[in-house]
Structure formats: C-alpha cells, structure tokens
C-alpha cells in the first residue's frame, strides 16, 4: 500500500526532471532534454510556496524558543494610560507595535508568549500521538489475534467520536492543567498513526527483509525498531505533519471557547476568544493571533502536502 502502482511507476519516469510539482508542467521538453545528462535527483527544486512555508515555520520556531528575550513587556504588565491603543499604521506608536488591549497589555508581547504555548502544546501532542499510535499499530501487527481486535476496537471508538466532544467532557470534569491538556490533545489523531503503522507493518512482515532478519534470530523489538520503522518512517512523518495543524486548530478552538489554556497563561486561541469581545472597537486584538494561526497551519499543511507528494502520494 505504501508503494502503489502509480507511485512506483511514476518514479523512474520522473527521473531528475519533474521533482517539484510547480516545475512539472512548465518544464516540458527543453528541461527534460537538458537534464538527461545531469545525474538524477541531485538537486531538489523546492516550490516557492513550500520555501515560504519553511521560512515562516523557522521564524515561528525562533520566536517560540527566544520568547523571553523577544518580548518587550511582561504578558500581564498593565499600561492603563494606553488602553486599546491601535497598532502601527493605524495611529499607534512603536511603544506598542501591535497595539494594546482593554487593560493596556501589549498585544505583541502576549502574541509572542501565545506562540510559545500553542507550539509547545502542538508539538507535545503530536509527538504523543505519533508514539502512541505507532506502538499500538505495531502491537496489532505483531500479535494479531485478540490484541489486534482490541486495538481495532479502540481505533473504531476513537474514530467514531468527534474528538472535540470527548475532549470537552474530559476537560470540564478533570479540571484543567497544562500537562493534562497536552496529554488530552495527544490522544487526538493516534488512531490514524495506528492504522497506518499496522497496515504498513503487516505488509512489511510479509516482505523478504523482515523475514530475513527474523530468520537470523532478531528479537521482535529489533525487527520493528531497526528494520520496519525506518522503512515506514517517511509515511509516518508525513502523517504526523498532516495532523499537526489539526492539533493547532483543536487547541485554539478549545482555548477560544475558554475551556483550553487558562488565564493568566495565554495561547493563540485564548487571544482570539478574548479579542472577540472587542471585535468592533479593537479588531487588532483578534486579528494578530488569527493571522498567526492561519499562517502556521497553512505552512505546515503545505509542507506536509509537498512531503507527501514526494514520499508517499497515496496517503490521505
């Protein structure tokens, strides 16, 4: 399944010429002729959109890492004389480049801190989901029988419930700490990794290399970690990239509803939820975090799509 007929058949034809989707249609005959002499797959041409996405993600990551250095003010520092100051370009000053909110808190500072918290949650949650899902998938593929049935049942359960509803019930009744929230978000999407890992591991087990190492006496742990996992890793990475934006959206949605990250901590969704009250008087409070959410999820999706097209076009 990892290597469908179309994907396998397309690779040799593609050679070194249409490595990127954008150049594929434009670079027809002349490009193909000029590149036949060059060794194939030497240089990958990355489309502009993907480059922009990578640049944006780099910036966002840098902001998240260096948040404490970059933040001009504390996130709870009040400046009551400068309440609801508009941002630069709309009558504001550089003192508060993105304006201030109702309490005179600097929007830029809060935005920087929100980026850190939201990314922390999204990375943590995606990692938990990937590890959990892959482990479950491997367990199902290895033991088959009732273990597989239990895993499949859990997958069914998870897939058959809108996650938001499950998360809402859990959050309200278990209270709301950051650790619990990250773990809860980590439960989102594990079933997709599990499904993929199970399918690919079953397919891999039937292939020569897995059988060969097994005959050589390798332990199941070694077979899965050293041989199967590297062979299916690209698909799993793509699947993680595709679920990362969903986690960002889920976290910001819950925080928007006031049921995610709790004040005084702030996240992107929190800021949007708070800014909603000032939609008419101070739209910048809401627009700044919205733009960050959209650009970030868009960038990860673009990157994920591009990786998928290159590594495993059959994945959805």
């Amino acid at each position: 399944m990892a290597c469908s007929t179309r994907a396998c058949a397309a690779r040799p034809q593609a050679g070194g010429t249409d490595m990127s989707e954008v150049t594929a249609s434009a670079a027809t005959l002349p490009a193909a002729a000029s590149s036949t002499a060059a060794p194939p797959r030497v240089r990958v041409r990355i489309p502009f959109g993907v480059l922009a996405a990578i640049a944006w993600l780099g910036l966002i990551l840098a902001i998240a890492v260096f948040a404490d250095l970059l933040r001009p003010y504390g996130i709870t520092a009040l400046d009551l004389r400068a309440r609801l100051t508009p941002p630069i370009g709309f009558g504001g000053t550089w003192a508060h480049a993105l304006g201030t909110d109702e309490l005179g808190r600097d929007v830029l500072s809060r935005l920087i801190e929100s980026i850190r918290i939201s990314l922390l949650i999204a990375f943590g949650a995606t990692a938990i989901a990937a590890v959990l899902g892959t482990t479950m998938g491997f367990l199902a593929a290895h033991f088959r029988g009732w273990v597989e049935q239990v895993v499949l049942m859990l997958i069914d359960f998870q897939a058959s419930m809108p996650f938001l509803i499950l998360a809402l019930s859990v959050l309200a009744f278990f209270g709301n700490s950051l650790v619990l929230f990250v773990c809860l978000m980590g439960l989102h999407g594990w079933e997709r990794h599990a499904r993929i890992a199970r399918g690919l591991a079953i397919a891999a087990n039937a292939q020569g290399y897995a059988a060969a190492v097994r005959q050589l006496g390798a332990t199941p742990m070694r077979i899965y970690m050293r041989h199967v996992l590297p062979n299916i890793a690209s698909t799993l990475i793509v699947s993680a990239t595709l679920s990362f934006p969903e986690v960002v959206l889920l976290e910001s949605g819950l925080s928007f509803l006031g049921l995610g990250v709790q004040p005084p901590m702030t996240s992107l969704g929190n800021m949007v939820g708070y800014g909603r009250e000032y939609l008419t008087r101070a739209p910048w409070i809401l627009l700044a975090p919205s733009v960050v959410i959209v650009l970030t999820t868009l960038s990860v999706s673009l990157l994920g799509d591009w990786l998928r097209d290159r590594l495993d076009p059959t994945l959805t």
Partner: protein, 311 residues
C-alpha cells in the same frame, strides 16, 4: 452478506457500550460531583442529601450497573441546574443545530466533491493548483476565525447580515458559510487523492487501451471506485450533524446543541454533558454503520474481508 451485517452491528453496539463506559468513568471518577456542584463549603448534610438524591453514595459498580440499565431505558437524568430532563433540553436544541449543519453539509458536498474530481482530472494544471490552494486554505482557517472575520466584514463593516442570534432567516447565512467552507476543502482534498489513486490503477489503463472514451472511463471505472473513501468522510460528516457546530454556534450565539454543550461543560452540568455525549455517539455509530453497509454494496471485496477478519 448477513454475517457481514451481523459483525458490523455487533461492532456498532460495542462502540456504544464503550462510549457509555467512557462517559461513566470520566463523569463519575473525576471528582465528587456533589462538591463540584454544591461547592465545598456546603454543609455536610446538604452534600449527603445531594449524594443520596443522585445515587452517588452507592458502590461504584452498582452505580455503573444502574447507569447502564437507566440508559438502556432512555433515562438520562435531569439537568442539575434547572431540574428538567437532560434529554428534553438536548432534544429541543436539535432543530436549531440541524438548521445550520444540514445546509453546511450540502455546501460541503456540492462544492467539495466536484472540485476534487475536477482537480484530479486536471492534475498539475493551473486550475488544479488554484482549487487545491482554496481547499488547503479552507481547512487551515479555523471556523471561529473565519466566522469572526465574516462578522467583521458583513455585519460590522457592511451591515448586510446579523452578527448572531436566530431572529431572522438570514442569521444562518454566516454560520453556514463559516462551517461549510472548511468542510468543502477537506472533502475536495479527499476526493482528489481518492481519484488520483484510482486513476493510476491498471484497470483504468486497460479500459483506456481498449478504446473506451475517456468520459466513459471516468464515469464507469474511476468515479465508482473513488467513491469508497469519499463515502467514509461524508459518513463522518453526517454523523457529526448534531455536534459538528460547537465552535461556530458559540461564535454566532446560536442556540443549538453545541452551545448547550459548552455552557453545560462550563457549569459542570453532568447530566446534560453525558446526554450530548451519548446522543453524538449514537448518531456517529449509526452513520458509520450505514457507511459500512454502503461499503459492502460498493465494494464486494469488503464483505469477504470483514468476515475473514472477524475471528
């Protein structure tokens, strides 16, 4: 076919049982509901009376058993806040929610599926890229951001449409758009990759090589096979008709099930939360069951697989 249906039905019932158990575990073991509802400062005899009234003083396994039988009889408890039956509270909200989610579903299907098919048939053209850019944008913009931007533009700036509430029919327009566009993007992507997968299969090449005209190949061979993954995602959308509007209803202050759920969660109204949870589970499981049956109809291979994988 009978065995296939029985297996699927069994699995559906099992999922519902799991949800009931999940609800019970989460809602009962997460803390003493008497204290969360009545506040810890309440006098002990009041707390005791509350526990007795709600059966919270009995052993946990007995509570579970009673809970399960009560649910089987359709008894879902009363709202702890206003004392009315939870089921009634939820039921009276359903029409409002459906008034949003059904038009949104139509928008998703009518926009997403044709766009996906078209993009797949014209892969790597400019149109494909434009459609896919919109599709990606459609689901990377969160529905609450899209909703608020729509409000900012069409309600605040232009004043064409109301920003919320349910007073007039056109109040539904913005929420439906906010919900439908994202889903259309998801569907377009799914449909496109399903179509691409199918178009690369040998039987398509065979059909073309035999001299079957391309439109006939697409209609007769590609579309029916690509329908299978698309049906799955549409099934999921149908299943979430009841609870798919949690965020958007909150943005537009729309008095539906989602709004009720958020308020109930914030107020820790156990009965209402579990009622919504179970109702959502049942619609979801029913939709999945129907999708499974459709699989059997669409793809005869699935019947054999299900029977073979069942033991």
């Amino acid at each position: 076919m009978l065995r296939f249906m029985a297996l699927r039905l069994g699995r559906a019932l099992l999922t519902i049982a799991l949800v009931v158990t999940f609800a019970f575990v989460v809602l009962r073991l997460s803390g003493d509901p008497a204290i969360t509802i009545m506040s810890p400062e309440a006098p002990p005899e009041v707390l005791e009376a509350f526990r007795q009234a709600w059966g919270l003083d009995q052993p946990i396994w007995l509570q579970y058993f009673k809970y399960f039988t009560a649910i089987l009889q359709g008894e879902l408890g009363q709202s702890m806040r206003d004392g009315r039956p939870a089921l009634e509270l939820v039921m009276e909200r359903i029409p409002s929610t459906l008034a949003l989610t059904i038009p949104a579903l139509l928008l998703k299907v009518c926009l997403g599926i044709p766009a996906g098919i078209y993009a797949a048939l014209h892969r790597n053209t400019m149109t494909d890229r434009v459609v896919m850019t919109f599709a990606v944008a459609g689901f990377t913009v969160p529905s609450f951001v899209l909703g608020l931007i729509l409000v900012l533009v069409f309600a605040v700036q232009l004043g064409w449409l109301p920003s919320g509430g349910q007073e007039s029919w056109n109040a539904a327009i913005l929420p439906v758009i906010a919900m439908g566009l994202g889903g259309a993007g998801v569907l377009a992507r799914f449909t496109r990759s399903a179509m691409l997968e199918v178009l690369g299969q040998p039987y398509i090449r065979t059909a073309s090589a035999k001299g079957v005209p391309w439109p006939a190949v697409v209609r007769g061979h590609a579309l029916p096979n690509a329908a299978i993954p698309t049906v799955t995602i549409v099934g999921f959308m149908i299943g979430s008709l009841i609870a798919g509007a949690v965020v958007v209803e909150s943005v537009f202050s729309w008095p539906g099930v989602g709004r009720l759920m958020v308020v109930a969660v914030a107020n820790r109204d156990l009965a209402v939360v579990q009622c919504v949870l179970l109702l959502v589970a049942m619609t979801m499981v029913t939709a999945n069951f129907i999708v499974d049956l459709l699989y059997g109809v669409l793809d005869p291979r699935m019947r054999g697989q299900a029977a073979g994988g069942g033991h």
